[in-house]
Assembly symmetry: C2
Homo-oligomer: 459 residues x 2
């Protein structure tokens, strides 16, 4: 214990961990490398592809998110002394492989959909060009990040679409793993949320943070009035007072009494929100607090938000449903080898072929979105079954195709325009632009098919 | 870039991050502290309680998990220079609060259900005794960890119950946030899983790790035979060969040809698993590989595992469904102020009282499980509506009550018997013992009510 009054020794490490990400990996990635280094296939040139066979049931589009985080994690994908010592101690791989891992740096290239972009079944979301061992080792980490963050962003996108011009605020940290919560806040903002309650996310990605008080603050005080007066004294009358600890009607009276008619907002966190919001709006207006906003929270999801569209609500606090993907907590993205050199020195398209519903399409691909009169009509995937990198201009009508692939990593060099706070801002812009291209039917919340068909064109 | 051949500068930081956990916190915890420090209520003695109002729909019991991780995170809950600088820069709290935060160490006491223990609606899972500011600040972090890990453990428990004596192996990292995946592997093992594919979890919690090869390894090679020979050369004939890349029947022939009848196992990752397992078992036996085991994976959940009970399967690889809580990706645990000192110097039970379905029961509680003839029959919560700490022996028939609360933190001292690898081992034992106490009906997978009623006894 540090004696009171003496300076403590604060942790200088940050929650924005710069620790190695290399063991966030399934064991079999390393055992495959162990065998491939021994048999001579390890350095065959390969192309891996990330795609989703389908969208979650009923969803009309997906949202790519996590790309910037993946690039940040790639920079920290290093096997340091501790990681090597663990692998040696467990005899998971041999010494030759440990030497390879100790020197591991990704030197290949990665292109893919820009973060924030929408996607559809079969969209080639990420294309990794590297030797087998250099590329396969990234499978687990890439999928963890993309599957999680994209699931959150897809749910968040439906909520911001439902909310229209009213802000959505992410407040779900307590219902998610403590570090997944940071990524979830980021993904929600990519998909149009205006801020988050999560301080670590606010710091790392320069996101606006929000939050004033919980019921505990009111309960701590001898009465509600004392609590409100304290909060207003501390945060000013522009604060948001939580009025549903005891009785909402009395709470509103006490709130306006404590803060005056300049009170910033009241928050309702329980009850029948559509009716309660109307009653509270009338009450606030009657008290002269016509500028006081109403914030609602309490198990909101995209359907509840839509149902509140005609209620006098000013912003939505969303928790559980956004951080858990609103029924689809992960995406089904997979990371597949689609092209590799054979013993003949030529490149060959490859794909799992057995019956069983997990087949994929071999070969290198690029993608474009067909835009007609400003509206998206089709996802076009151009496939080259052999070695050559296909190009969008290899097919007709190319002028109407908006290219979807951007270069993320080139010969091991990460493009940091996609990382950090700037990456989040760009991704949020990309999301807004791509949503604006979708036909209105694609934005319906009701269950439906993918909004755009995916056409695969072989060149 | 490091020149080839020269030693690199490995990251000495570990994925088991020791960074500060203090900003994994909702902003409102700090703004409440800001106001309470100003108005004089900050240091009122308080009791906070974590509980769940209900189980996920249809579930018969919950599983407490994450307790050990919470204690680990508590040890790193420090506001260092970077955290203070961020809060100052954003003007989230004032200087008085920053001084308090810079010195923050939890000096209160925490008791609660042992990790691995089962729980029911209203069970007082964690009891935090501290001043208001010392206790409220832990709300977000405590709930993040407990809600996530308990959701995984509850799903995993249903799977291990369904699997009976056959091992379940956790392989879901790619479908979860990359660090949530580490916690998920740990929680699955708490609930009876035998191992994980996740290397970071293996290292941090000394869990057995598993995994041999993906379809990509077979596809890398010119043919399946080359891939199998390579894997056997590298890992020995006791390895597990993945036989469904091209044609399962041929794959099994090639596998036994490559490894001999001492082949450890074959893995089936697609298709109609119950029938396929029977065919493969017959084929293996016919080839003389009678000791070769069959591992199945491919979107397994507790229902699929139950359906495979009569198939000749030796172990289950479970991915998506376990890391996403099999339909319930979070628990609804809340962290509520239940008792606090008033301006009169006396302790008062407190609870949110407005209509709206979020009410709780104020007052300090302890809990015991009533055991009759070795079987659990009731969750008994003993409530003291005033200041006194209730005790189980204040009610009749106490001899039949198994106490559920253990001391986790005493006056700021963390009991490290509950953390690290030893904590996981103890939690797994606790889970197995508590499952063994449940009546058989409680273990049915079908939707039902909570298996035990919760009786609240006021003393």
């Amino acid at each position: 214990m540090t004696p009171p009054g003496l300076p403590t020794s604060p942790s200088t490490a940050s929650t924005a961990s710069t620790a190695s990400t290399a063991l966030l990996t399934d064991r079999y990635e390393l055992t495959m490398i162990d065998a491939a280094l021994a048999d001579g296939t390890a350095h065959r040139p390969c192309v891996f592809e990330v795609f989703a066979r389908r969208l979650p049931a009923g969803r009309r589009y997906g949202v790519v998110a996590g790309t910037g985080r993946l690039l940040e994690a790639l920079a920290d994908f290093r096997f340091g002394q501790e990681e090597i010592a663990y692998l040696r101690g467990c005899e998971i791989v041999g010494e030759r492989t440990l030497e390879y891992l100790a020197d591991y740096r990704f030197t290949g290239s990665i292109s893919g959909y820009a973060e924030g972009e929408l996607y559809f079944p079969g969209s080639p979301l990420l294309v990794v060009e590297a030797s087998f061992v250099d590329g396969v080792i990234l499978e687990t980490l890439a999928l963890s990040i993309l599957n999680h963050d994209s699931a959150i962003a897809a749910a968040a996108s439906r909520m911001t679409v439902a909310a229209g011009t009213r802000p959505c605020l992410e407040m779900g940290s307590r219902r998610a793993h403590e570090l997944a919560a940071v990524a979830a806040a980021r993904a929600a903002v990519v998909a149009g949320f205006s801020g988050t309650s999560n301080l670590a996310a606010g710091r790392r990605y320069e996101l606006p943070t929000i939050g004033t008080a919980a019921h505990a603050f009111t309960l701590l005080h001898d009465d509600e009035r004392s609590a409100f007066l304290s909060q207003v004294a501390s945060a000013g009358p522009g604060t948001t007072l939580l009025v549903d600890t005891y009785d909402v009607e009395q709470g509103v009276i006490t709130a306006v009494d404590a803060a005056g008619t300049a009170l910033g907002a009241v928050r309702l966190d329980s009850g029948d929100l559509p009716n309660l919001a109307r009653e509270v709006r009338d009450q606030l207006d009657g008290l002269g607090a016509t500028g006081t906003r109403i914030v609602v929270s309490s198990d909101l999801d995209e359907y509840a938000i839509a149902a509140l569209a005609v209620a006098p609500v000013d912003s939505y606090g969303v928790g559980t449903s956004v951080v858990t993907g609103s029924g689809a907590p992960t995406c089904g993205m997979v990371y597949k080898l689609v092209l590799r050199e054979g013993s003949d020195g030529a490149m060959h398209a490859v794909a799992k072929a057995s019956a069983g519903g997990k087949n994929s399409v071999g070969g290198r691909k690029v993608a474009g979105r067909r835009i007609e009169n400003g509206l998206a009509t089709e996802e076009v995937v151009v496939l080259s079954p052999d070695a050559d990198l296909p190009a969008l201009d290899q097919i007709a009508e190319v002028a109407e195709l908006r290219p979807l692939h951007v270069a993320l990593v080139t010969d091991g060099e990460i493009d940091h325009a996609f990382t950090g706070p700037e990456g989040v801002r760009r991704a949020a812009e990309r999301h807004a632009s791509s949503i604006a291209e979708l036909p209105r039917a694609a934005l319906r919340l009701s269950a439906g098919e993918a909004a755009l068909p995916t056409e695969v064109v072989t060149v």
